[in-house]
Symmetry: C2
Subunit: 206 residues, 2 copies
């Protein structure tokens, strides 16, 4: 009796999973474009926007590809990831072009100049065929404060090499960028330990 | 005249940023707990749950810490990240305990046995003081299908060493787990290239 109940449960499980596998296989078979560089946007108020971009860098590195990273505003942050990625030598090119958080500088002209330098570096990396992935970390912040002309930035991202993957991170992604993107994820804050009075933790926040 | 407008704009910017900086400083000063291992959950239907966990692994590695990773169901995936992390030798301990996607196996008893083995490994890593971070990749899937007893899993996560960070990934995180967690992010799908007929890309999806 109990054995029969177990068998029925196992059979239901088998049938459900077979159906899911079949749906999965069909979905994969329905894809028509084999290779395409993706424009990826990580936005939202939650954590993981830059971190997931660095995780994708790791994946690309594991496939033997080169990754370029331009930081638009977090000059002083992500030093731990940078230290770790240094292990991969020439496979990673890292450029910290920002001057700390924008609310640390309080100088509009300097912020704009820094954003323009960072964007020039971004264009350079996107044009270099040795890179399979270019991460434009916190570019959304530079766009949000109008440090860079939105229209020409989006146009340049759309006109990138067909095989180049680009990841743009930062809160408040512009609708025009989302429209141009292939893959957009909103990292949504559900619960944060800062609210419970816990300080930023080494290895987690920085 | 135009100069004066520019100056006013710069002044407004300076004042706004100074206010933000002050709010930021106050927030940081308000934190009372210096060091605390966090229970972090990455859930949601969007991309970046596992990837952001691997990005945090990179950050921990950059700070000289050891990271343990247990994969509950994605046996065949994340091979590129695993290859890349192998570069860090003993700093990373990686255990693929799943047997591929659950809908590939269609065998309930085998899935449960695999989940139990993975959980035993997770407990072992959590008890080993050499690890600063343990990633339980796709544990949420094992909990969702009741492959593991929710109550005792959540209890074990809550009772972990006070200095241990744990990241649990996977869709459909159980409310009991979210309740126990310090930091929860929902990776929300905004737009996906699969919908436009683009196949999974090497270095991005696998």
């Amino acid at each position: 009796m109990s054995n029969s109940v177990d068998e029925q449960k196992a059979e239901r499980h088998r049938a459900k999973m077979a159906k899911r596998k079949s749906a999965q296989d069909e979905e994969v078979a329905g894809k028509t474009v084999e290779e395409k560089g993706l424009l990826i946007v990580h936005t939202g108020t939650g954590k993981g926007k830059s971190t997931a971009a660095f995780g994708l860098a790791l994946r690309m590195i594991g496939r033997g590809k080169r990754v370029g990273i331009v930081q638009f505003v977090k000059g002083a942050w992500h030093t731990a990831e940078r230290d770790a990625l240094a292990k991969f030598g020439d496979q990673v090119a890292w450029y910290s072009m920002g001057e700390g958080f924008t609310w640390e500088t309080q100088d509009l002209a300097r912020d704009i100049a820094a954003a323009e330098r960072a964007w020039a570096k971004a264009v350079e990396l996107m044009e270099d065929p040795s890179f399979a992935l270019v991460i434009l970390d916190e570019l959304n912040i530079a766009l949000r404060y109008d440090y860079l002309p939105l229209e020409s930035v989006v146009a340049a991202l759309k006109d990138r090499r067909p095989d180049l993957h680009v990841i743009v991170t930062g809160r408040n992604a512009k609708p025009e960028l989302i429209e141009a993107a292939d893959l957009v994820t909103d990292m949504t804050l559900v619960k944060h330990h800062f609210a419970a009075g816990v300080k930023a933790q080494a290895g987690i926040e920085f």
